[in-house]
């Protein structure tokens, strides 16, 4: 199974463990939004929604940018997907290599057995 840096995963799962935060991600998946937009949509105070966005931001799932008085939120670099893809790419290559290496090693084993024939189990 794919393994990640566990601290980062913990942050991601903690961020995703809350229905409002999942709602925010879903919302941002459709369009970027300001803190005020999100507060209205989720019927929360600005302080409340800022807290949720802060958790998502820490997990790298959301990024925010302040322009003038408006803080705009958008989906973050989505490291989970990227990392999974990265690991899978490497795993495929090494797995294919090692399958081929298995065959080479098996040949060496057979050769040694034929040549040596000294060791018996």
């Amino acid at each position: 199974m794919v393994q990640h840096d566990s601290a980062r995963l913990d942050a991601s799962f903690a961020a995703l463990s809350d229905a409002t935060r999942r709602g925010v991600l879903e919302q941002l998946g459709r369009a970027d939004a300001s803190i005020t937009d999100l507060a209205e949509r989720f019927r929360m105070t600005l302080t409340g929604i800022k807290k949720h966005v802060g958790v998502l931001e820490q997990a790298g799932l959301v990024t925010t940018e302040k322009v003038g008085r408006v803080r705009t939120c958008k989906l973050g670099p989505r490291r989970l997907e990227e990392e999974t893809a990265w690991i899978e790419r490497h795993r495929q290559l090494w797995d294919a290599r090692f399958d081929a290496l298995d065959k080479v090693v098996e040949q060496l084993k057979q050769k040694e057995k034929t040549n040596g024939r000294s060791k018996k189990k």
Partner: protein, 169 residues
């Protein structure tokens, strides 16, 4: 051999694991059903290395393979890409401990060499292979060992190929 078999024994496939340790490092592990000296031999004799480093199943072809496995010795692997393009991987060996440990540089990347440490741990006639690779930067790790666009294309092809392959092993 305890039973009559065809030319190849039906292998129980050992899993390959890949773990990203940090922004600059990753580790690949795999167990082989053979003593360390044989696995080591397959890594250090160019004519053997050539047989598996560029697996056909990956659509890769190795044009040449040189490896002078001793401290300070160099290696050079040249792959053929589409058309007449080639890609070379090269570096030198920093540590050579027969049947147990190899350390080499990967000098083809920009921004400094990546260093690969390979250890062979034998236990009960099997060998646990641990490959650790440290890159000069996060960007270089993301790219992989000089895995530029050429190889990314190949991976794309592989993805397609894997879908079409039957589960026969």
């Amino acid at each position: 051999m305890d039973a009559a078999r065809r030319s190849e024994p039906a292998p129980v496939k050992n899993p390959t694991t890949v773990e990203r340790k940090s922004e600059r490092e990753f580790v690949v592990t795999r167990t082989f059903d053979a003593p360390a000296r044989l696995v080591y031999e397959a890594w250090t004799k160019p004519e053997l290395l050539k047989q598996w480093w560029a697996p056909k199943s990956m659509g890769m072809s190795l044009l040449s393979c040189e490896a002078d496995v001793r401290v300070g010795g160099g290696y050079r692997l040249v792959f053929g890409l589409e058309g007449s393009k080639t890609m070379a991987f090269f570096g030198k060996y920093l540590e050579v401990t027969p049947n147990s440990r190899l350390v080499w540089t990967n000098d083809e990347g920009e921004g400094g060499p990546a260093v690969t440490t390979l250890t062979f741990e034998e236990k009960g006639g099997k060998t646990l292979l641990v490959l650790h690779e440290r890159h000069p930067s996060k960007e270089a790790t993301d790219e992989g060992i000089g895995f530029g666009e050429g190889l990314r294309e190949m991976f794309g092809q592989l993805d397609e190929l894997l879908v079409t392959l039957p589960a026969a092993r």
